[in-house]
């Protein structure tokens, strides 16, 4: 395991009602890295993110952020340490305005001081959100809601952002836009954990990847290696 790892996950297990969703997953993310975790539906991708975020408790294993053990901590502590997530299905607060959604994201201690500046940054990144900042978030289109979910995560001034299937439900053109945003955030120094079913595109974007099956990591390596791997090609790339 490299010394410069920002987030280190070791032997993580998550169980719902006795059946294991995660079965001893180990992975690490270096500072500034963009890695992806790919796998089919039900492989445990979402459980991995929810468990790191402290939303679902882990039954075994450890998660360390900057060397601090966080696997038993509540979600707000974990947010405060600089881990943000863009949840699957976006989890937008539909009855709140776009701006209020963003302000909630920026309410953490680590982010509150610079909130006005961060808000401006988000509006620069997504001009559409500025135009619609007083509109109820529930009235936004799918792509705009995804932008809002990403903007809300940025508002917390995170070191790591975990994306849970940002391309889900988006048109191919919008998917490319969304992956472009993920890439540009990474270029600005934010570490990214990208969880995706879109294996080809996410491996093209990331430096390394992990393949998750039935709650376990079955393969990992550089994205180039994984793209060349015959098992990956057959199972996920339809070759």
């Amino acid at each position: 395991m490299p010394d410069d790892a920002l987030l280190t996950i070791d032997d993580l297990c998550v169980a719902y009602d006795g059946s294991n969703a995660l079965n001893g997953v180990s992975l690490h993310i270096g500072r500034g890295e963009l890695i992806c975790v790919v796998g089919a539906n039900g492989a445990g991708k979402t459980s991995l993110i929810r468990s790191i975020a402290g939303i679902v408790p882990s039954s075994r294993g450890s998660v360390r952020m900057n060397g601090i053990e966080i696997s038993r901590r509540p979600p707000w502590d974990i947010c405060e340490l600089g881990i943000a997530q863009v949840a699957e299905g976006r989890q937008i607060f539909g009855a709140l305005s776009v701006e209020d959604n963003l302000l909630i994201g920026g309410s953490l201690k680590r982010a509150k001081q610079e909130r006005a500046g961060t808000l401006d940054f988000v509006y620069q990144l997504f001009g559409r959100l500025r135009e619609r900042r007083h509109q109820l978030a529930g009235t936004l289109s799918g792509g705009e809601q995804q932008m809002l979910a990403i903007g809300r995560a940025i508002m917390s001034k995170p070191e790591v952002v975990m994306f849970d299937e940002p391309s889900i439900g988006l048109s191919p053109a919008l998917t490319d836009v969304m992956f472009g945003v993920v890439k540009s955030l990474n270029d600005q120094g934010i570490t990214v954990l990208l969880v995706e079913q879109n294996v080809a595109k996410s491996l093209a974007l990331s430096s390394r990847g992990y393949v998750l099956e039935n709650g376990s990591v079955v393969l990992h390596g550089s994205s180039g290696e994984l793209l060349e791997n015959p098992d990956v090609q057959r199972a996920y790339l339809g070759m």
Partner: protein, 343 residues
């Protein structure tokens, strides 16, 4: 440009609020004693409804037992004042504090053990009924015979919060105005959007670092304290307190009918809902008495609820706003078209 139009609509909202309460103040100066006493009750339930509204309409936590907090406030004021001659101002503060703590403990216990939603609502009924029975059997607070304030002397005494019915009308008017303005201010504050966020999606709020557990306890506690202040004044206005009347299910229903009829989560809803429902309730009560049909007032409540749920499911106030906008918007867009042509 956007900012200035926001400020304009803000100013309009506050202006409308001030105008409504100014009209109500004039009404208080010129109306008959009967109308004033009825409106006093309406305004008190506007305030208590507003506190209930904060909890459900914004915080997403349902209570059907707000009589518990109303009763705590009423008894705190009455016990201190009647037994020890202490000013109701102290009683109101103490009652609000006790109710706030009781609300917080109730919320803490239920949310800690995952009692949520409708089960929490059932728990609030149980707590209110428990308190009603307990107070009924407690000699120190007068048991079922209740407590009586001395007959009003008719002279106004602000320090002891005593006066004629017009005096209490203005006390209730101030409370209602504070309730409406307070709800508006809270719902725009950090607490307001955090509470609405956790109402919408608890898990998403937690994932963003919101301590939803604390905020739920907080909103219940604030709501309980508000209801207790309303209850303290209600006891003074009525001149007597009995467990069955001040802590009974009827009070819990009276508290929630305003916001439900008027519009959940809105600043003006509870005022409009109480205006619509409570006078009807009283009128039907008197009519029922004179016709010898007891319970006609409850039938009226039922009818109003059915009509509102049927025709205006989100309440009267949102429907008024929609109507206003439907009338205004075409006119405005015509003006902006004219301006474009001129340019």
């Amino acid at each position: 440009m956007q900012r200035t139009s926001d400020q304009a609509s803000d100013a309009k909202r506050w202006g409308a609020g001030v105008a409504v309460f100014a009209v109500l103040a004039v009404v208080g100066g010129v109306s008959s004693a009967y109308v004033i006493s009825l409106l006093t009750i309406v305004l008190l339930f506007t305030f208590m409804g507003q506190s209930w509204n904060l909890m459900l309409g914004i915080g997403g936590q349902l209570s059907i037992g707000h009589a518990l907090f109303v009763g705590i406030g009423a008894y705190a004021v009455a016990i201190l004042n009647i037994k020890y001659g202490i000013t109701p101002w102290i009683g109101l503060l103490l009652g609000a504090a006790i109710a706030g703590v009781v609300g917080a403990v109730l919320a803490w216990l239920s949310f800690r053990f995952e009692v949520r939603g409708i089960y929490f609502a059932l728990l609030t009924i149980a707590a209110a009924e428990f308190a009603r029975i307990m107070f009924g059997g407690w000699d120190y607070v007068g048991g079922m015979q209740g407590l009586f304030y001395p007959a009003p002397s008719g002279t106004m005494d602000l320090a002891m919060l005593r006066g004629d019915s017009q005096f209490y009308y203005f006390v209730a008017l101030v409370l209602a105005a504070v309730g409406v303005a307070g709800t508006e201010l809270i719902s725009r504050s950090y607490w307001g959007y955090v509470w609405r966020a956790m109402r919408d999606d608890d898990e998403a709020a937690r994932a963003l670092g919101v301590r939803t557990f604390r905020h739920k306890v907080l909103v219940v506690s604030i709501s309980a304290a508000g209801a207790a202040i309303g209850g303290g004044v209600l006891g003074l206005v009525q001149g007597s307190i009995f467990p069955d009347s001040i802590m009974g299910m009827g009070i819990s229903v009276d508290v929630l009918i305003g916001p439900v009829v008027g519009g959940l989560g809105t600043a003006f809803g509870p005022l409009i809902g109480s205006m619509a429902a409570i006078p009807l309730h009283h009128a039907m009560g008197s009519l029922g008495d004179s016709l010898g049909i007891p319970g006609l007032n409850s039938v009226a409540y039922g009818a109003v609820l059915i009509l509102v749920v049927w025709f205006l499911p989100d309440g009267i106030w949102p429907a008024v706003v929609r109507l206003y906008e439907a009338v205004q918007l075409p006119a405005r867009s015509r003006i902006s078209q004219l301006r474009k042509v001129e340019e």
